[in-house]
Each structure stands twice: as structure tokens, then as C-alpha cells.
Symmetry: D2
Subunit: 325 residues, 4 copies
């Protein structure tokens, strides 16, 4: 299913080189002020062509409201938003059809969709669709803002370096792509959200987060570091009647339930699959493994574009949990 | 919601010290042979009291079939299984009611359930409920076995040591609890499972996995190590028309879809919250932070009991994906 | 799926002659007082053996709480309730295995469950499972009572007679079974519940109502009579700012949304399939159409037992809508 | 939720006088041939302005594919279809804002959406959205056609008359609107579809059918007539090993499961709420009940437009059941 959520529910559609990508947001309460301007900042943050290391493909990325917004406010009915695709060079992709790109969904898309997939630019699997997540995230953030909740994601590491420019330089030097670590913190999240089985806060956050292309791991609070900690060290001592803890190794979630402290999680973003480097892979026309290099416009480090998407996804999940409460 | 799945769907219930814990398994196809004996091995693997480092609480843990099984086979109707609770010492817990145990769900349960929670032994949040997951896992594994699919989980590290006894000795020496890393591999998983948005294989696996108490992170394939790899290094070259790859940094999932290689993921299990060590935490009766130590029977390293639960949860998820196909 | 609901969600299990039938109620708020005594009245109303025309099978029908209730209150965790089956005469059914009973699910159960169905007494398809609906209904009614909402169902017609004894006498005279009409009214239902697409109040009520065996039609307000009314006649004029109308041809629902007037709907209950009359039907052993008569204990008019079940189902649906609001 | 379905899932959006109405169809298998031409017949059947008694509003109603269709075939990714709104006269509605139209959703929309509703032409509650259902129905019918299943709906009665012109003349003579009865038959439906609790075939059909505006009742097979039948009369005798019955009082469903006979159900369509007749209703500006008459273009008998919508909805439901099988 290309949808997520119980009460606040998003349904995504579109292909990288089709007429449009879009999202339907159901369960938005009425009376949320929404204008095109509200979307600009986050959409700009996601866009390529701005920073060193991101793709020069420029899209206007102007959200068109098809429904659910009237006189500048959400009505309570489903909000449909589309982004027209108008800057695509499909021919880049046509040439390399024989080579299912390593790390990309080309091969699995071909199997899953029995050869009927729109193969241009990754089709439905394209990172292009994250603009829709960002748009839904803008709406979700507005709902959270009514509860004074903020989601803030930042890049912690590029190619193992906390100095991001240094990490990026590694990619440039190696003429290769690199990965990174992105962290998201949610402030003022109320306690009591989530269910132990099976809708723990970790469960629903990770479910949605793994819809973001290139993410291959997630950890909450101390995360994988907990593997080498003692219990007395990892346990966060509660220090007041509101449940505040002196440390936050749990990342704000105990027993699957938010505990009133900051929600903190980190994700690993794999290096961009479309590396400029020549690779060996299968030529499905010949059946042989051959040399191949990816053409087209791509990011050296896709992690650079992830923070705003991660915030959006977290906001979508939490807006739903808040609505379900 | 205390349920998971679309076509193969489980609903869990119960408290640690209530009359019973149990699970309803809906969507099991008819004609799966099921007897009490089929559950023994996995239930024994989960049980405490066997290995160094696990709790001496012994439960008979005999599954009672309430429905859905007739003449030794699944009928196609919902299968309800209960495990009666008959070896509980609630008084252990009564004494420490004033102290919401650090790392445990006591405090959030009290907030979420407004003081009506069954507080004995963690109530509905107890690890006791994982026996239900194991039972549903036995059924799910039988469905997967029809497709020749196996889920195998093993402990990779205890307290940072790959020599498990060494890791465990650390806990004993420190009179504290320790964490660990558990890896699950799924063989013969067919390609094409999962959806890019929002039901990627990573999404649904992690959703269910975070229902297991004490798990705080998950990574697929190379996982967090991908953060320091180059794209040319991380990409798995496809080497034949079945999609087999020479490496498996993707952990068997590309674009959210299984690619026909082994599914591989690892989780971090935090150190058992109930450490024998004295801790500082809130006394909710006095409102002061005081010294406190956990009484009762507990595991030094809960990771030891996780593999069979992790297999079960993976099997539940994959049985559903197979059924949805 | 053998479950229903979004936030307040029930999952049913069991077979007529298996160990037990039961229901798991998820999403019940904490602090609802619940004791066995609370279930007695509604369970008695459903029971056979009391009125002329109902089956002499007597079950104690004592609900056993397996989870979710602690110190006489709901905890907020899933409530599992079982009813043991202890008064069954399976041999009645063994004899007639060759004849899939007309009007019953025997034939479709055999097809759907590939011969693995529990065929005793209708198995999972048995009316016996409605005791579970009634139990969940008791909980749902308590939630509704907090909002001062009542669901009241009454029999309007038996065998076409508004004098019920007269209708029943028709069955006795004809040595046959008869059908009836049952109406449910819900008082004090707030406006705003439901969604035009696809969760109109009519949609969700009818979805759940058709889980009650033997119901073959439902109508809201004027219902089928609307087919011969003029618009000016059918329209309910709004007469005050609360939305009260002078008539209620809409049955309290406009555009799929509750409008603050009484919710009113009627269902038709087909005549009990197990009629004492001899019937012609297929002998699946011989493949011939042969004479056959149903043995066992049965109701002449199953509609007599429907009101409390209908109330229960309406309450389950509305408790969910209230919780989703 | 403005969505329906488990595996084949539709999500609807739009308002009568907004930029567009549309639908997202998720779970359509790849390789279904789909062109604009495929939609023409059914969209024309639904359109006003053709027959005596339907509204003169003419829309081009050309479906625009936004996603999920590539080279003339479904890809397997979500199919988004929009219909632009380009023939609207909102001013008609502006004038009558003080009067929530009796029988319409104006009043409940105002309550539910807290005054933020798009009130033009019924907004999200408009019958205009049924064009989206028809479009999704075209896709669903193509899936069913692969199994040789057809859905065929016809009008049985207008204003109580089986001679439809006669019924319609009643409306014209009375200068009022009238209702009707529409029947849908599904041929070649396989047995085994549906679940007794809570997804009986009756449950899921009626759930979706009540999303069609103006429908106030549904009955399967003999339906409400069963209330006056004897059991021996209503029971359909099985006459061969495929489960064919000599009569079809059950409407093709026994125990909630399709039995291999034709699925037959009927719905009642209330008289169009927008009657030309003057009515008494609340003026929300004055708080008084006043005389009022509906302006704008409307149908004398909305039942005339229902058959193709009913077919569409039935096809959507059954495509999902087939996909879930």
C-alpha cells in the first residue's frame, strides 16, 4: 500500500518522469491555514542544485492544491497536492536500459511490475517522490505546531566526518558517492503516545522512515551504542513528576510509549547509488557482467537532502499519533 | 492497536500476572498441521532458567488452542492461543510501587492508562507477552516453510564481545546487566515483496521488530557501516538473471523490495532494565530522587532470549507479505 | 479479517463446538468499570430456551476475562474475553455431514476452508459467536453511556405480524421457521460522526451489522419507502440551530454524517435456515438431490435473539466513531 | 477515511467547485490496458443532460492520468486520475448560503468542518465525486473481466413504477423529485469470497455502496421479502457439486461467503434532495423557519444516474476481494 496512517493518512502517487507526482492527505483537521508560501522553505531545503554535492536538476516544485483547501484554510476534506514534472530528460535513461543500475530499484521494479514499470528515472521508486512527503510534512508540522511540537533534523556525519565539507570532499576526491548520518529531534512531544504492541513509537516512526529511499538503519536514543552499555548506565533516571530524565539514552521512548522527553533518532543514509564511478554489473540483454557507468544528473551525497524529508516523515507519523490519542 | 498484519494478522493480549497471555492469528490458510509439540522447541528456546544469565522464573508455557485448529490442522478460521500464567509472585512488585523502575514502562504506563494499569510485573508491557509472538511465529514459520523460506537469528555480540560467555561474564563481574546485538537472516525469500511507499520490506520488518521489548535500533545489510562506504563499494553488482548479487550490502532489499538475495538485518538489544545495581530514581510518593534497587527474578542479558522472538516476528511479517502477494 | 474498527477494535474467534469462543477488544479507554455482572442482562437477552420459539440449548455463558481488566476496571490494554463451550452435542451434526444444510454455511465453509473446516454446529460460522459480539457490546455501551448515548433495538415484525405471538404461531402451525424485522434506535448521538467517502455512518453500521448471521437487508430512516416518496416529502426540514428536524426520514444521517437526530435503522432477519420441515438438497456423498431434514436444537425464529446483538454491533461501531472523532 | 479497500484500494478527493476531483487507485496489478477511451462509455452513462430527468450541467469529464499508467498499461504503481472542474456556477449557491438545504449535507458539513467547509455545490459531499468512483470502477471491471466477472446494474423502479417513464412523469407532474430502486447483478463470481466476521460479502458491498449519495437501504437476494417467508421457502436447495442452487433467495451469499451463484442486491435511492418545490426550513441567519426553494441545475430523479456508479462500487469491492483471496 502506498499509504500511511490511521487518522491522519497520506497516500502518495507518481513517477519521476510521468505527468506529476502528488499526495493525498486525509484526516487533516479543518481550519489549518495553508498557502503555497507555507511550502516554499521546506521544498527549497529539499531541492537539488543549491549545495555542493546535490544534483543540478531544477524543478520549480510549486505545489498545486487540487482539493481540501478553501479560502486559505484546510476544510477537513482530503487535501490533494500535485507537483507537475516539467524538467525531465528521459533520454538519459533510455540508453542505459540494458543495465539495471546497481543499488537502484531497476531490477526489482522489473520483476515486481512484470516489465510494465515506468523505467524512466526510477519511475515510482524515484527520490523525486520525496517532494510529496515534504509537502505532507508541511501540513503535519502545522498540526504539531498547535501543540508546540517541533521536528528538527540535522546531518551529523558525511562519509564518517562531522565536518560535512570534509566528508563531501572525500566524495569529490574519490569521484564517488558517499553516505551519512542524519539525526532528528522532536521537542515537546507529549507522553503517552504509542502502543507497546505493535504500534510502539519506534515501530511507527521506523515504518514511515524506511519509505525514504537510501535509508538502511535507524536507532533511537543511545541506539547501537546500548550494546556495550551496562543497564545501570543506560537506564535514564526519572527526576521529577513529569517524567523528565537526567539522561536520554531511551531517546524519549520507554516500553514503546513516548515519555515526555525529547524524541531522538538517527538514520544512516547509504551512499548515492548513482556513483560517477564505473561499475561491473549485469547487462540483461547479453546476460553478461559488464562495465557500466551511470549517466544523468545525480547527488554525490543524498544524505544532504534527507533532513527535511526526515522531519516531514516524523511529523506525518506524530500528527497521526496525536490525532489518534 | 495491539495487532499487526494485513492478510496474516496477529492480535496480542494479556498481562504478566493476569489470568493468561494470548494471541489471535487471523488469515492462516487452512490445512497447516499444528500440534502442541510443534511449539515446544521455540518456546523452550525463549524460556528463562536454562542458560547462564536468564531468569529462573519457570513457566510451563504450554499453548492452549482455543480455536482455529481441528483434527490437528488449521481450519482457516482465526487461531486463538492462550498461555495461562501460573507462576507469578506479584508481591515482589507490590513493594516497589513507589518507584517507577528506570528503563521500564512503569511510569509511561501510569500516565497512558491513567492509574488503571495492571502494574504487576510490567503488566501488558511485560516481556512475558513475547511467548505469544513466539507461538504466532511457529505458525508463520510453517507457512514460510511451504515456500522453503527459513528465518534464523543468532546472537552476534554480548556486551561488545563476540565470545558470548566473555560478554556475559562482564555482567556477572560488574553485578550489572548488559546488552547485545542479534542478527536475523532469511533464506530463500522470493523477490518482489514489499512496496516502496510505505510498506517497504524494511518498513514492515522494523515496525514489527520494535514491538519486541528492549530493541532500540535496526539495520539492514551493511546498515550503519554504509555511512562510511563509497557508493561503488556499497552497491551490490547483479551477477545473474535471477538478480543474485556478489555482495549483500543491501541486506536483500533494494528500493524497499526484496531482491531475491538473503534478507539480513541486525538489532541492538539494550541492557536489561532490571539491573541488580542500586540506582537513583524518583520516589513518586515522596517526589524525591532516592536510592532504589530492583527486586524479583530477572535476566542479566535479555538479548539471550531475543533470537527466537526475532525469528518469530520476522516470520509473522513475511508470512503476511507472502499472503499479500 | 475477523476484526472490525479503527481505534476501538474487536477481533472475534471460536467455533460452536471448539474449546471456547471469544473476543479481543482493543482500544477501550482505561477506567471503565467492568464486572461479570455487567454482562448478565445482555447475555440473558440473547440466550435461547427462554422464549417460545428459541432453542433449548442452555449455556452458562459466563464471560471469563483473560486480560485488560484489573481491580474491576478496564486498564487500557486489550480486553480478552472467552466463553467456554460446555454444552454441545456434536453427534447431532455428525450424522448429517453428507448434507450441506440449505441456507447454512456448510457448503461454502467446505469450499473456502478446503475441507479443513470445523463442521460441528456451523463451526466458526455459528450463531454461537454472537455471544462475543454481545460481550463487546456491553463494553461499547459503557463507553457510549459516558456520552449519554443509548442503543435500543426492538422486534417490529415476526412473519409479517406486528403482534409477535401471532407471527410465531404461524411458524408453529406450519412446522416451519419464520423471519422478522428488527429496528434499532440510537438516542443522543452527536452530530459530525462519519465520513462521506467511504466511512459514512450508514457504511460502517451496515458493515458490522452484516456480520450478524441471517441478516439480509438494512435500511436507514424511511429506507425502502423513500422509493415512492417525493423529495419535498422525504426531506427533513431543519427547525433549530442544533439541527433538529421535524421528521426523521433520513434516520439521523445526511451526507453520511450523523445530524444530531436519532439514528434509526431496520434490518430484515431471514427465517432460521434450520427449519423442521423436510427439504430437498444435495447429498454430497451420492451427488444426488435427496430428501433431508435438520436435526438438532434450533430456533423457530432467530429474529427473536437479534435485538441485543444488533444493539451490541451498533454500540461497537459508534464507540469506534466516537473514539475516532 | 476517504479510502476503501485492503489490497485494491481507492482514495477519493475533491470538491464540486474546486480545481478538480480525483481518485488514487492503489494495488492495481501491472499490465492492465488502460486508455482514456476505456472510460468514455461509463462516464457518459453517468453524465447529466442526456435523459429526461437529469441535470443539464455538462462537464467534459475527461479523465487525466497523473500516474501509474505507462505506454497504455497499468504499471503496478498507484494510478491517480483527476477530472478538472470547468463548468461551475458557484454564484447559484452563494445566494442560498443562509439556508442549509434540507436533505443535503450543508448543515452537517458546517458542523463537522467547523465553518471551513467548501460550501459551493455541496463541496466534498457533492454527487460530482461519483465520476471518480466510476473511473475507479472502469479499472476494477477490467480486473474482474480477467476472471470473466461482470457487474450489471439496472433501474427497477422510479417513483414506484416499473415503467420508468411513467415514474418520471409523476415527478414532472408534481413539480417534485422522486426516488427509485436499482438492482445490481454480478455474474460468474467465484465462491469462497468474504469472511463471516466482519468482512462478509454483504458487509463490504454495503460499506462501499453507502458512499454513494442518496442511497438509504440495501438488500441481498430476497432481502426484506424474507421477513414474510418460511424457512423451507427461503432456503436455496443446492442442486450440484458446484453449489448451484435452484433459487437464489440468498442473493449468492451464504454465511457471508459467496456461494458461486449470481450476487444480487438492490438499493433504494431517495428522491433528489434538490426538489423544485418550495420548502420550509431554517434560515441560519435569522434562526427562523422560512420558505425556501433550491436554485441551480438538478436532477428530478438521481436514481437515473446511479446504475453505473453502483456497478463501479461493486466492481471496486469485488476486485479487492479477488485480490485478497
Amino acid at each position: 500500500m502506498n499509504s500511511f496512517g490511521t487518522i491522519f493518512r497520506v497516500s502518495i502517487f507518481g513517477e519521476s518522469h510521468g505527468p506529476a507526482v502528488g499526495i493525498v492527505v486525509d484526516g487533516c483537521p479543518p481550519g489549518i491555514a495553508l498557502s503555497v508560501e507555507d511550502f516554499v522553505t521546506d521544498i527549497e531545503r529539499r531541492k537539488g542544485g543549491v549545495q555542493k554535492g546535490t544534483t543540478p536538476r531544477k524543478e520549480d516544485d510549486i505545489p498545486e492544491f487540487l482539493s481540501g483547501i478553501f479560502n486559505g484554510n484546510s476544510t477537513g476534506a482530503p487535501i490533494a497536492i500535485q507537483f507537475k514534472n516539467n524538467n525531465t530528460r528521459s533520454s538519459d535513461y533510455e540508453k542505459q536500459k540494458a543495465f539495471p543500475r546497481p543499488g537502484h530499484a531497476d531490477f526489482v521494479a522489473h520483476q515486481k511490475f512484470k516489465g510494465f514499470e515506468d523505467n524512466r528515472g526510477g519511475g515510482h521508486f524515484s527520490g523525486r517522490l520525496t517532494v510529496c512527503l515534504v509537502a505532507a510534512g508541511v501540513i503535519a508540522k502545522k498540526i504539531l505546531a498547535q501543540h508546540n511540537i517541533q521536528c528538527i533534523a540535522t546531518i551529523k556525519e558525511i562519509a564518517g566526518e562531522t565536518d560535512l565539507d570534509k566528508g563531501l570532499q572525500k566524495a569529490i576526491d574519490a569521484k564517488d558517492s558517499v553516505g551519512g548520518i542524519v539525526e532528528c529531534t522532536v521537542n515537546n512531544l507529549p507522553a503517552e503516545l504509542g502502543e507497546p504492541f505493535f504500534d510502539s513509537v519506534e515501530s511507527v516512526i521506523s515504518h514511515a522512515v524506511f519509505a525514504i529511499p537510501a535509508i538502511k538503519g535507524i536507532e533511537f536514543g543511545a541506539g547501537f551504542a546500548a550494546a556495550t552499555m551496562f543497564g545501570s548506565e543506560h537506564n535514564d533516571a526519572i527526576v521529577n513528576m513529569e517524567g523528565k530524565t537526567n539522561t536520554n539514552h531511551a531517546g524519549g521512548i520507554v516500553g514503546g510509549i513516548s515519555n515526555g522527553n525529547n524524541l531522538v533518532f538517527r538514520v544512516v543514509v547509504k551512499p548515492t547509488s548513482s556513483t560517477p564511478k564505473e561499475q561491473q554489473t549485469l547487462n540483461i540483454e547479453t546476460g553478461n557482467v559488464e562495465s557500466f557507468s551511470v549517466k544523468g544528473r545525480h547527488d554525490l551525497c543524498i544524505a544532504l537532502r534527507v533532513p527535511v524529508v526526515l522531519e516531514a516523515v516524523a511529523a506525518i507519523v506524530l500528527a497521526d499519533l496525536i490525532r489518534r490519542k
